[in-house]
Symmetry: C2
Subunit: 349 residues, 2 copies
DNA sequence: CAATTTTTGAGGTACGCAACACAAAATCTG
DNA sequence: CAGATTTTGTGTTGCGTACCTCAAAAATTG
């Protein structure tokens, strides 16, 4: 049977509310926009009418009337790897979407790995921005720069990499320790009791996200998989040539190497070394970020799993959060939570 | 250095375009809304001005001026399991959001497992709806009902369960065969070479999504994991009591049972039986849908992995697709693709 | 060149709300 | 009860676009 919760066919306007409450439009306006000078009794009457008619402000009309426009700056790394390239493109697409909603995004490219350069860029941002999204570094100067922006009334969200001790209003990105733990569980279960060593390759241990991932990874590996022992973390600087050599050396030195967890970039180097060694099939390799390269390695079977964060979601979420913050609307945490995606060969998008 | 792609501080309006092109507002309107009666030469001039100024219609203003409102019907199952309850809630939340964008959602509860009832419900839907989202059944009568709606100019999207041979404009849901393959790969890898049998429990094989999942599961299991042999599929009718008994019987009969893949509901019964048998730790159990129950089983270690589809995403996506379709806007396939989530204990949201 | 058709311009209204000014009414104060 | 104060009503304008009418201008035709 089709028993539906049928709603009124047409939306109630402010005028309808005014009529229903027996007050004027101005009073309703005062109530819904929480302005002063209305008796509590009247407020109650208006709110009752709002509830009764199910009045909801027409966001389109409200934004039009307010006539506000928003300018946001996205501070992203220069050059860089496939993930960052993709993120930049997703931000550009988001900008395109925002343009239809009275919002503008400027993309600023900065060397985000240098705290001074990054902090300087944040300090010199035009005061025209109501919001800033930045791939942060958890460094005192950067933190100070963020805090100053926030103090100036600018909404700041950190993107992909957080600065938790700063006063940013929101972090858009994954829980990195949890991502590391996820990788460790996959590694442990895929190796199912076999004994041997596992290597961890990070970009740089001065990057908070890489550190957190390897922390989570070690945590689970050591507590749950006694059969596996982790080798000291190697820093590959997110560079393929360097990771190629490091991986080749690893494979040569450790005959009992069972797994590689790469919590940064430089995957092409790892793939080359693994495939050259002839041990690609037996060594379980888990890495981060779905790119055209890692996709290929996964399909080919060299790579066993990808832990991913969806750059498109991150870009859109950052824009939504900034927009909501600037226009005083609430955000739904559910929708803005960035998930830790696991990709196997079978569930690739 | 902060070299940014700085955009104009304020958006260009139709008037700006008119001025730049040296024509009147009416002409610009004719061009941007593709009305007739404008010389090709003039069209080109206006379009050049649009491009030069980077004009983008203000969606808020456009929608306001058009004054259209949209009514959508969501046809969901009556009563039912945790997943459907959650989906219903997410649809309600989406309705709340849509209300701010001149859209209304009515939720109709129907026994979607009965093709005649479902088809009847679709046939009797009020003609006031511009769009319908339905958890479909791939059955001739249902297909015909969908086709008729589409023929009447109603946008129809299938939700969670598809009717691919119908003329629905979009399917919002996961790739079920791929989900089954994903489960099989996890099963195969978690069992890592051990020999034995694997059971598959479906709700009903007349449900397309369940069939597709078990198809994908068997496909990978038989081709890649010769060490594991699948038992005949069991139909648990998504009922916990029934699955409890069936699982208990399975465990009693098959000492070499290594894994259980449940591609439907009834998980509480499986958990009970597994835990009662004392073999919860050694048997790899993989199931679908993250609910409060499956979350608990996963954390406890009884359950090894959850294949999930995000009900919130699905609800929002369906609404966005319907809205876009009705207002002639394009959709971005990227954003509307529903992912096959894998949840381990470590990456639970 | 006149008559006809096509193209363009000018101008208006409406959408629902925000924001403001000012007057009128109600309430409170001394 | 007069005066001061608070609360409410009336009215206006503008946001950027859609859509409409009617007239003016330009191009095309016979």
């Amino acid at each position: 049977m089709t028993e539906g919760a049928t709603q009124p066919a047409t939306r109630a306007t402010l005028e309808d509310v005014a009529r229903a409450a027996g007050v004027s439009l101005a009073t309703v306006d005062r109530v819904v926009n929480r302005r002063e000078g209305v008796r509590a009794k009247t407020v109650a009457r208006v709110e009752a009418a709002v509830a009764k008619l199910g009045y909801r402000a027409d966001l389109a009309a409200a934004r039009l009337a307010r006539g506000q426009t928003f300018r946001f700056a996205f501070v992203l790394p220069t050059g860089s790897n496939s993930f960052m390239t993709n993120l930049t493109e997703q931000v550009a697409r988001t900008a395109d979407w925002l343009a239809g909603h009275r919002g503008f995004i400027d993309i600023h490219h900065v060397d985000v790995f240098d705290p001074d350069v990054l902090a300087g860029a944040l300090e010199n941002l035009s005061p025209a921005y109501q919001g800033v999204a930045v791939i942060a570094l958890d460094h005192p100067r950067v933190r100070a720069a963020i805090d100053e922006l926030v103090a100036r009334g600018v909404a700041v969200v950190t993107l992909v990499s957080d600065a938790p001790s700063s006063s940013r209003v929101h972090y858009v990105g994954i829980d990195n320790p949890a991502a590391g733990r996820t990788a460790a569980t996959l590694m442990g279960r895929f190796l199912a009791g076999r004994e041997g060593t596992v290597a961890v390759i990070a970009g740089s241990l001065s990057l908070r996200d890489h550190t957190e991932r390897q922390f989570g990874f070690h945590q689970i590996l050591s507590s749950e998989y006694a059969n596996l022992s982790a080798l000291p973390v190697i820093e590959g600087r997110d560079d393929s040539n360097r990771t190629r050599e490091l991986t080749a050396a690893l494979l040569a030195r450790h005959a009992d190497l069972r797994g590689i967890y790469c919590c940064g970039a430089g995957n092409r180097g790892i793939a080359d070394a693994l495939e050259a060694s002839g041990r690609a099939r037996e060594v379980v390799w888990i890495t981060h970020e779905l790119t055209e390269h890692t996709r290929r390695f996964l399909v080919r079977g060299t790579l066993d799993a990808i832990i991913n964060q969806d750059a498109g979601h991150e870009a859109r979420s950052a824009a939504r959060v900034l927009l909501a913050h600037c226009s005083g609307e609430p955000i739904s945490p559910d929708q803005e939570r960035i998930r830790i995606d696991i990709f196997l060969r079978d569930n690739l998008p």
